[in-house]
Subunit: 357 residues, 2 copies
Amino acid sequence: MDLFAYSDLRKFCEQVFTEMGCPPEDAELASDVLLAADLRGVDSHGVARLIGYVRLWESDRINPTPDIRLVHETPSTGVVDGDSGLGLVVAPRAMEIVMEKARHVGSGWISIKNSNHFGIAGYHAMMALKEDMIGMAMTNASPLVAPTFSTDKLLGTNPIAVSIPAGEESPFVADFATTTAANGKLEILQRKEAEAPLGWVQTADGEVSTNANELKQGGALLPLGSDREHGSHKGYCLGSIVDIFSAVLSGANYGPWVPPFVSFLPLPDNPVGEGIGHFVGAMRIDAFRPAKEFKDHMDNWIRTFKNANTVNGQDKVYVPGEPEERMTQERMSSGIPLLPPVINDLKSIAEKFSLSF
Amino acid sequence: MDLFAYSDLRKFCEQVFTEMGCPPEDAELASDVLLAADLRGVDSHGVARLIGYVRLWESDRINPTPDIRLVHETPSTGVVDGDSGLGLVVAPRAMEIVMEKARHVGSGWISIKNSNHFGIAGYHAMMALKEDMIGMAMTNASPLVAPTFSTDKLLGTNPIAVSIPAGEESPFVADFATTTAANGKLEILQRKEAEAPLGWVQTADGEVSTNANELKQGGALLPLGSDREHGSHKGYCLGSIVDIFSAVLSGANYGPWVPPFVSFLPLPDNPVGEGIGHFVGAMRIDAFRPAKEFKDHMDNWIRTFKNANTVNGQDKVYVPGEPEERMTQERMSSGIPLLPPVINDLKSIAEKFSLSF
């Protein structure tokens, strides 16, 4: 795989978002969010998705100059209308609002409607770290997941991210889809023409399957837990909570009505809300106990887990966020690897906008 | 199994808590929480645990007349010191505080230290429903769970409960351990001398196992997801978030330092905090959008999932909370079944306090 410098990819993304009509600060912010995925090793959510955003914009489903507004609020809560903007811009703006609320009353919680896909949830949650706050972000997404006992795809992979500051240690950053495996993992197997482990997908009839292409044949992703015996009803609960907090609270589309990310699929009939939904939050650490005290204990917590004994064949126990932190350092210095199809997509975007790539 | 009337069991529990020295309103509240578990079918957390609380009290680990205090607060957050009280009493009191905060500023979030086991998380989360609020409750617990790739037991089954009001439909109530299977499920298999499914437990060396008695031989429960390939790192993230929100934020014991529920096990050396920790929250629905609007959409959400197509061999898709709601109605009318060992425990408690059972 060819390696690309962070700064080059970022500059290219900024140019593309500018060509789409985004104001300079929005083009910068959207690029920052997108590249954070590549740095952290979440390749499916980085520049590989740029073409998806371009296509949505071409289909008039992205407003490059949205009027992002707080349409309802209390001192600690509110609803933001994203005005069909890029989720990459809408979500960080909403994070700024919850952090402002947390500064005033200890915590802030915003449900967001009328948005689009927001990149990696972890980026938004991590914004809170710099002010010694816990950050949270979640989003609903296109329906690919069947609830326990069902053959219908009613939920998205609906990720949850939680970031928690530490002292000397790197922060705790959890960011995960509420399915057994994210769709990006299946795409990797499809490219390799490999089978999927049992428990990732089911057939259109709800039977077990190892076919990595099952979704194209009417199958579904499975909630975290895979089957009832292994707790899939818990993954189903988690995905549902994300859907309700993100969309039923805000007035976005939920469940099977969530619009698809890919522009070639039609929008669902009879929408129940506006766009897709997110939910973000922030809690000031010192709204609970002195930040120094908390961070000392977080360091102890993190070291306890990092230094735990390992099972045979593993050399270390990871703390959430640690592998992504290491990947960021590595890719910042040696570059970001891109697959040939992604490079081709970026070249076609460059051609479309008469940019160089 | 013998069936017992709700009112008889409840009266008995009230008498026992009164004998332990609890004030009348605390004895009532603790009994209400305990019996809610039996009604909802979570038999492991109901009157079967009464003897555990009695033994903790006998070991001077329960203060029957705690001074439950808010020791730090902002308009939307705070820390409660449970003063070694029954978690069954401390948690609902903290819920009252978060609901009061939500009334004023839209949401309320309390981290709790110096408490004991609080029964089912769902009881506390559901308290918010009567005021059209979303309720949340979580708790850490004795370390029985190994993080992904580790042989050390560093987390409890750390449950999360979220309750969400609906209109004509029953509320959405999720309440689940962040492990593949709760410890109570293993106990059922132990009594039957049956094997556990692969993915519930591991041996002391971290190997896969189907031995339902594995924990007694140094083994551990597995986080939701069972193994890395099926997302156990996500269950590990969830259990960690519960531990940190409940205990690192409040100043309770976390990770391997959480005191055991059973009184015959010694308390960990060098505690890092006070007692066990919980985290509770409430958000007013109309702090986001009008409650009627929200509840109409929740009804639509719930009906969409309830009416989804089923896989072969299943006749219905459940909405979280629905089976427990049905069980409650059934057991309220026909009685609560108790196993012979539980009946014996209750008889021995009756004898101890010269009560009749």
